[in-house]
Symmetry: C2
Amino acid sequence: MDKWPRVVIVGGGFAGLYCARKLRKADVRVSLIDRRNFHLFQPLLYQVATASLSPADIASPIRTILRRQTNAQVWMGEVTKVDRARQEITLSDGLRVHYDYLVLATGATHSYFGKDEWERNAPGLKTVDDATEIRRRFLLAFEAAEREADSEARRRLLTFVIVGAGPTGVELAGAMAEIARQVLPTDFRAIDTTTTRILLLEGVDRVLPTYPPELSRKARIHLEKLGVEVRTNARVTEIGREHVAIGEERIGAGNTFWAAGVAASRLGASLAAETDDAGRVRVQPDCSVSDSPNVFVVGDLASLDREDGSRVPGVAPAAIQMGKHAARMILRDLEGRPREAFRYVDKGDLATIGRAAAVARLGRMKVSGFIAWIIWVVVHILHLIGFRNRALVMLQWAWAYLTYQRGIRLITGDRQVELHRAREIEE
Amino acid sequence: MDKWPRVVIVGGGFAGLYCARKLRKADVRVSLIDRRNFHLFQPLLYQVATASLSPADIASPIRTILRRQTNAQVWMGEVTKVDRARQEITLSDGLRVHYDYLVLATGATHSYFGKDEWERNAPGLKTVDDATEIRRRFLLAFEAAEREADSEARRRLLTFVIVGAGPTGVELAGAMAEIARQVLPTDFRAIDTTTTRILLLEGVDRVLPTYPPELSRKARIHLEKLGVEVRTNARVTEIGREHVAIGEERIGAGNTFWAAGVAASRLGASLAAETDDAGRVRVQPDCSVSDSPNVFVVGDLASLDREDGSRVPGVAPAAIQMGKHAARMILRDLEGRPREAFRYVDKGDLATIGRAAAVARLGRMKVSGFIAWIIWVVVHILHLIGFRNRALVMLQWAWAYLTYQRGIRLITGDRQVELHRAREIEE
């Protein structure tokens, strides 16, 4: 086993994890390195941000997932540099690791289109910590409003803006509207949470721009039914602590959340390979890096065009397929067989809108409403890794569905209520 | 309703919450103020610290618990001052609230016996954030050890010290030993987690000093079976980043956790009433403060002697009983009936040691082992507030019991692995 080639996989998301698993019977030594000790089921992260699920429901320790795979070891650490000439990577603490094959799968992060100062006022949703931070801000706004005496400040506290109407933005907006209108009203005495404004802003002319126009229309109707104000062709020009500007228009909003741009993680740049405008690494048809057939880039970090000229999308199924493809190419090398081009199998699109509605495209079939929502539930439950999580998430969804309750409404962390002018409770 | 007397309750722990609920049919306006938006079921907090439960499993939003109690409102905020002469409290943001009755139930926090510099190296366990921090440090130690090349540093990383062998210390030590020996071994490749050292230090001559000596003996036997090294009559003289000293003896330990002293929360001092050596407010037999019959102090913040001279202990049942008693005294005032002295009904003691053992005293009956553990499970499940939490916790315990798995092994937050000398993975 000591003579087996070493495959270093950086990143334990969908691409990296499925790559490692695909190599489980191969005569290679797999080292999976991640900054976190857990694999995160990112498609459900918005449910953590909106207090429906706990972080642990959608995350599993990578070690535990791979514990029976004897050719794999897991390291917790952050890779900061790749040296293709020496075939070695460097970790933030100086550790250097030699590789025979390298699979980079570090994914994407938010991009504020050069306006990095917006980040503080409009957090995005990529990590567990992001999700608990959004949950904290969202819930804290109602607590502050309950104690706020100034009606304009109260109005501002109860206005939430979500920038970007891709799947994440749509799902966040739907869930937030639902909580404000259906879950919270009986909890508060001084404020009427059904007056909460949720604005969903999108720069182009429809929500879910990558979906078929028909589903965009349906999604918009569902969102508006839930009380979300959808604004398309709305380009944000400024995000302040208590307002958002669209051109000349200024909207008072206590909280803004970012679901607009993504950029590849920084590690891509250290490869010194060609990248696209979002920093993604342009890969060869087999997912390897030009001039380095032993280096693969997969998942959201990779930029690869399909035969029809469109890009392989940055979604979980594509990441899984690319991760498995890289593993397959390594196996082919070992068997002395030629490489093959990656072919993305498009299984469709799915996005949920609140409690019992979704839009789905399955191949050429388009569905919306309750049936689409059932499909969404089944697909997501089946893909959650680990039996425990599946059972727990199912139970919590069933509970939330039957009772309209949300269980995880905890405000943790240090910063607490800040008020503009406190409501007097002295008579 | 506007003319009803205002009862301000500070603190939404057991004492405050049960006081509020007891007043649900009374002609009073209840305002419950807490720094957090949730009630925490503190007896199970060690299970969050040891990755068995999620924070949301043992916490419920106070608003939701009280949402049907129409005479109650909930405010999130921190009370910093009490002015008994003006009958008013002040919040950290300057808001002042007038009261007719005040019930202080802000509980206790850690005390490092004047050695506040120990706190950084030996976090205690009182809040949800404390619990996730302990979980993070505990799990991170194994991650660091897996990558550590230096055998002495590795040994140090795998040595954990718990200071204080009251119920919290005993439960933490038992759970940690169990995880290290029964859950983690298959997850790691380079280290043998069964060699983990868990030291439980206690200053007096036995563990669980407030329990009957017979149960202390049994608890110690159970702990040692799980591999915990119990050291009694061991007074800690120093806690450093990587060591603990007991007199002249120095023990290398990567992590130390504090379960020794408690002190009353600071608010007690602002009352300007007589306090005991731990800062608890000495209360009258009816739980009110001397000279202020309309101010009650209940739960861990109160110091009250029983008829036999012993103090009412700082445990959940006592807090619940005192909270209800204060409510009852307010009701008696309104009905023009005389006050009564508080009588603590001692229902017994319960502490669990690992997966299927506990020690219990129920009145005069003493039980240990599996039967005691079943009693422990039933008592804790029944007292968890909210059906959702009960069902989920039960499911997770059943799962953990059957599979020896722990689901919540997530390392969140910013600080990551710090290594002494990285294990080389370059050949």
